[in-house]
Symmetry: C2
Subunit: 432 residues, 2 copies
């Protein structure tokens, strides 16, 4: 499964010209899946190719695609395809790659394409459950040291991928604005309730799940890869003042459930095969418990994905500045692999459902500049922006933009598109 097939061939080109432009996020080697709608039409599945969306329903109706996998991907959510497991997304990838390749019989069939500019993207799945991990040692160390300088990491950090259950109902697709939440925390002068004064982003990888294990039935690490449908970008918006106050001992609650943004395109696990790297745990001192250790995961369980965060403020926008880069990091820094997250999560028998969402946790790296949230960046001092603005946390009107890109020697680089949202002012507390 880890040997790339012809769909990854660097010489392969699409008949959609924009997909062949160097640096394009969506060349024919990517083929990420999403759900889109257009002008009051029903939402349906699509594949990103260059600056176009392949309309799977249209391709099926035109007789250019067929099969259960394509049918399952063409509806208003990707859950049916996710329920079919990895084999189905492999089958679909091969079929779509052949359809879109230069020389295909479908070449020039503009009727099965929709321009991205006219497609309104939706959440790719009806998310039944959302679990958020914390697998960056650097993130955990920097923020942990504020409270426990002697012992910054959670006690279990090196023994298991630390995680908590988060809120599914408030996950939204990129582009939907985020309303600054009201919340409670203790100020010097006493208890306070009002708009958060410490709104932050957290740059995370979204992990989308395929298949299902029954309640009580775990997923051994040797089979966990089959549960990984694909990946995206995830902004785990965090209200730090509320979070610090509410966390002990049951963990983050309203500081996180205010909203979570995800990028609309799921880069499939199939597409990520060339970008697999060693699981990070090989070099660590403490031996892993056997259920979290497998040669395949050690060899190829990790992923190399360059991840960036940009900020655009209203004054920057007015002055014509480009978004300023606040974070440049890589998922390769993470201490645990996506497969280890699956196996640990299901190790108690917890049933993971098709379309369930994991967040990786904030993907900070060790270097200055790789801190993947503002709470970490400002440990080096306030953030200086073009035009002279200074930020410690997000202000109303700020727009946060995530980008991701995977590179590997001998492979065509692929992108994740964007995850972006603007901060809207808090809503006044309603009268009775």
């Amino acid at each position: 499964m880890n040997v790339p097939d012809f769909t990854h061939d660097p010489e392969r080109r699409a008949w959609v010209a924009s997909a062949n432009v160097a640096g394009c996020d969506f060349p024919i080697q990517n083929l990420p899946l999403g759900v889109f709608s257009r002008d009051g039409e029903a939402p349906r599945g699509g594949v990103a190719i260059g600056d176009q969306v392949l309309d799977l329903r249209a391709a099926l109706d035109a007789g250019l695609l067929s099969g259960a996998a394509a049918e399952a991907a063409a509806g208003p959510t990707l859950n049916p395809l996710m329920a079919m497991g990895r084999a189905a997304s492999r089958e679909l990838r091969v079929a779509v790659s052949e359809l879109l390749a230069e020389g295909s019989g479908a070449a020039g069939r503009e009727d099965i394409l929709v321009s991205m500019a006219s497609a309104r993207m939706q959440l790719p799945s009806a998310i039944a459950n959302f679990s958020d991990f914390m697998v960056s040692r650097d993130h955990s160390w920097r923020l942990g040291a504020l409270k426990n300088p002697q012992s910054p990491l959670p006690p279990a950090f090196d023994s298991l991928p630390v995680a908590y259950h988060s809120r599914a109902s408030s996950v939204r697709v990129s582009g939907e604005a985020v309303v600054r939440p009201n919340g409670q925390w203790r100020k010097k002068e006493g208890m306070h309730f009002g708009p958060t004064e410490a709104l932050d982003y957290e740059l995370e990888l979204a992990v989308w799940l395929a298949g299902e294990n029954a309640l009580g039935a775990p997923v051994p690490l040797s089979r966990a890869q089959d549960r990984l449908f694909g990946y995206g970008l995830l902004n785990d918006w965090s209200a730090r003042d509320m979070q610090m106050w509410e966390m002990p001992p049951l963990g983050p609650f309203l500081a996180k459930s205010l909203s979570t943004s995800v990028s609309p395109w799921i880069v499939t696990a199939e597409a990520m095969i060339p970008f697999a790297i060693a699981g990070r745990r090989v070099a660590e001192a403490e031996p892993l418990l056997p259920y979290l250790d497998h040669p395949e995961d050690r060899a190829r369980g990790g992923l190399s994905i360059a991840l960036e965060v940009f900020l655009l403020t209203p004054p920057m926008r007015a002055a014509g500045h480009e978004p300023a880069r606040l974070t440049a990091t890589d998922f390769a820094h993470m201490a645990w692999t996506p497969a280890q997250m699956v196996t640990h999560h299901a190790s108690n028998g917890c049933n993971l459902l098709p379309g369930d969402l994991f967040g990786s946790g904030t993907c900070s790296g060790p270097e200055a500049g790789s801190e993947a949230c503002m709470a970490e960046i400002v440990l080096r001092g306030p953030i200086q922006l073009p035009g002279g603005e200074v930020r410690r946390f997000l202000e109303d009107g700020d727009e946060v933009i995530f980008r991701g890109r995977a590179h590997a020697e001998g492979a065509v680089s692929i992108g994740f598109g964007e995850c972006r949202a603007e901060i809207l002012p808090a809503i006044p507390w309603p009268a009775e």
Copy 2:
């Protein structure tokens, strides 16, 4: 809304004789809603009456019931009724009370009844989100004191109803067995992975939600009662060894998501009107923040519900012993009201959906005997059972049974039925 109507009249009797027996959980003053199926028939909505279930679909088809609320309650989940809000469940309660009353034109229509013995109960709603609170001061104090004897309560305990997001996919209806989970924790000799050695129950009230607020739109306390659909019993099974290890700093995770059991019958908020009591916070020293304070909630936001836990072990079963009572407590001890839970949860704009589930947290009281989980009880010493057995935590084959009953002067007492489950042995970790 807080003035009981004729449906609460203590003189009112049903034409279903078993409902009129003193001490029955389901007299005509109760009328809880659930979903049942029988012998391969499709699941559908029902109302408990005595030892029978009123089959709402059958009553509709027979022309004995009509209206949008009854139609919404007759399907495979109660979510459509829950989506209609409190007014719809009031309307349905009145119609069903008239249908089942002595002297009704429907009297003797056995064709719209199904015996409980032949009904297989289902989850009442498709649960999109499950949040678990911790609103017992006594529970929080006893367990908190083990770690922080100087300051046992969470810092925010008196300022907000502490809660965390829990796992929706593993919620199961009463009667479904619970598999002992595998998990990880640190033993004296080092890291360990295997079946939990500290499986516990937590006796909680289930709170089922009606209506919906859009993401970003809070629910002021004056309107929170309209979001309370009804109540049941909830067992928040907990693996204490795993929990202590995984909790810092993000809260409980796999120690809780192994399974959660709920009783099948939802006692509606309408049925609970006579059992309203003052919200507990009136007497406390620290003033409440205004968003969590309202005269109506102070006066009638609390609920008086006697709650009990019984244990039946395999040797007790073999010897013909009755289940032994481990806990006798009351929801009246809680420090926060269900309406305050709603308002706090939505105060950041989090969207609460119809059919969402809250757990109240372990309903411990102050007295010996009112501890609502084994971890608290054993602080007084091991649990002695009839026949000479001793327990600190649950063993395989143990059956845990929750019961609840509401009493008030001048009102007919109503019951919650049971929430019960047996512990099955852990599944051996799968070979590759």
